[in-house]
Symmetry: C3
Subunit: 275 residues, 3 copies
């Protein structure tokens, strides 16, 4: 077992034979993802991808929650500068998510408690999603005054579907596990604390199957199913992506963005009526 | 409040602060869309798009129905000429739908009663769909002897899914609201006349959220999620689209098409057995 | 009625007016698809496509099962050579599936009993899927030590959705009809042996509708909705497909592949622990 901890949360990695266990950990913050955690998530999945003996990855959060979102306390440090905001989303966040998407080993998500924002995005990178009946899903960043970054939106659109993605983003809707199963996002929903057991049993089933076949299936599925419109190898998509990405972070210094973040930190409702 | 009415139905537009209310109105025809209404739909949404103060649009039909389809009484005037048919679908119908799709303001659909053909297509352009439990959905134009126009088919395929689109088009199936929710087309289904209240409450929730974030989210989602295969900015798709569109309306003068429309107008079952 | 039979199963074709009935038949093997059957499936659907008088095709399996998969007894003859494996998937299997996908006549699937592997792929090529409540669905080829071929994976991803395709391939999951309906793969599920009656009734509804409109709808839907990433007419996709396909069958001679097939034939559990 290797573990690295920082003041701002950590990604714990444990290896048990052919099984990798990845635990999101940010005590007191429902495992909200700090910048340090995003960077560590990337390193952990890059290491997993290089380990030919691994056959399954189990991703979960510590202490009864998957991940409550981003670590908003850090946001004032970088979000109000366009360059800082771009660096955060394109490098830190997408670096972590892309490393998960690039992983050839099957990934099982064990989702309990809060699965919001960054949590939904991390779950979107898992192949099989097992959830506790009491878990909650959403990306209510419209309350925080900002839109979802383009690559992240493409990922959530692909995995949660446009209907659910729009409801999360435009109405700030929060969904139950049963709703997310009906929307086609969750493979299984378990009541009464059985989620962890089912996730482990799922990993055990995967461990017994042909490992090379799994890696080939993941490579094929990844090639066939890139996040909508964001396959940069596609010349067709290039102008579209370039166009979206070039103006995606221009909102950084806007009053609406500042009001949303400030209100959250000051623990008051945001007021967008005059923005 | 501005209202414009013609003999052949109208699109009513009302503005209440940051909320635009758009009402499909064609008394006695369950709000079936006439050519004049399609053109007015375009003008209304182009005006909405130019109004930076708007934060939500609520679309509904008058008198307990959303929209029963096209105004079939007008069809003999233009449908049996290829040029006339093309002009209707590519300019009138798609002009209206494209203006809705191009709208950066979140659109909520309040769907009651009949939501058929053109009604389904208009609902496909809305971001959040709230329906009454007694509403009905379908596009049974195979009874009228004609296929769905390509751009409209791409839109319905994308929003309703291929399984449902094929069942609507190939079997002329009509679905309940509960079925359309299970198929992933409706966000919420409300019993006992609570649909209008929920639609208004949804609009109120959207009005309280960050308006710039909503517009940016819609721009990103639109760019990522064009109707399948019909992104004309894509060089790859051009030949395919050009090919489909070039022959899409050649059926205009066929006996099957004439029989389907004639039978409807004569209020008798269509007979395709000898066509 | 024409029928052709071989030692290794057959595809029975019967014509009743404008209805074509196609029956998968491999007695004693739950209609598992042999190479001869794949080639016959192609010939049958190419003949259907050339028959302008047909208005509906009904596809079913003989004796209470749809299709249990491939005929594994044949596999040692060709699967362990890369060229043989490629020929099987690209020519025999895809030849049959492509002929179904290219068919302009609406296809109804009547699914009872086992619908596994090849059975799921054949069902994916049908427009409307009616299933018995006791039918079972899956593609547990990870037990057999091999991945799904790219074109087939693209088809299953498109029709069953990525969530279900991954669960079938990575966890070897098997689904009930109710689950596959909830996942959006089945149009209707019927209890107590009512599946055949509903499939025939569905065909009758299609026969009464406009036949030219159905063909035009299928042409449009096919053009708009190619299996993800595998539209070879698209220059963008070419490198991706070429890349996947060039290395898709390199696993032919691997110990994992041999162990999976051998274990099945020897009727013992496969052991992938040392591969």
């Amino acid at each position: 077992m290797s573990a690295s901890r920082t003041m701002n949360g950590s990604i714990r990695f444990e290896r048990q034979g052919a099984l990798a266990q990845v635990t999101l950990s940010h005590p007191g913050k429902f495992n909200a993802m700090s910048r340090a955690m995003w960077r560590e998530l990337r390193r952990v999945f890059e290491a997993i991808q290089c380990d030919a003996a691994l056959r399954c990855v189990l991703v979960r959060g510590e202490a009864g929650h998957f991940c409550a979102g981003g670590d908003i306390a850090e946001y004032p440090d970088f979000r109000f500068s366009e360059a800082g905001l771009r660096d955060f989303h394109e490098n830190d966040v997408w670096g972590g998510l892309q490393a998960m998407l690039d992983c050839d080993v099957p990934i099982v998500a064990q989702i309990e408690g809060n699965c919001m924002g960054a949590g939904v995005e991390i779950a979107c990178c898992c192949d099989i999603r097992i959830a506790d009946a009491a878990s909650k899903f959403g990306a209510p960043i419209a309350r925080l005054g900002f839109p979802m970054a383009p690559r992240e939106a493409a990922l959530v659109l692909r995995e949660a579907g446009a209907l659910t993605a729009r409801e999360m983003l435009l109405e700030a809707a929060v969904f139950t596990a049963a709703q997310m199963q009906a929307r086609g996002f969750l493979n299984r929903v378990l009541p009464d604390g059985q989620c962890a057991g089912e996730a482990v049993a799922t990993a055990a089933r995967i461990l017994a199957l042909a490992p090379q076949a799994a890696r080939l299936n993941k490579q094929t599925i990844r090639a066939l199913n890139p996040p909508s419109g964001l396959d940069e190898t596609a010349p067709v998509a290039t102008n579209l992506i370039a166009n979206i990405l070039s103006r995606a972070y221009a909102y950084a210094d806007s009053s609406e963005h500042r009001e949303g973040i400030r209100a959250f930190i000051e623990k008051r409702p945001s007021n967008f009526s005059t923005s």
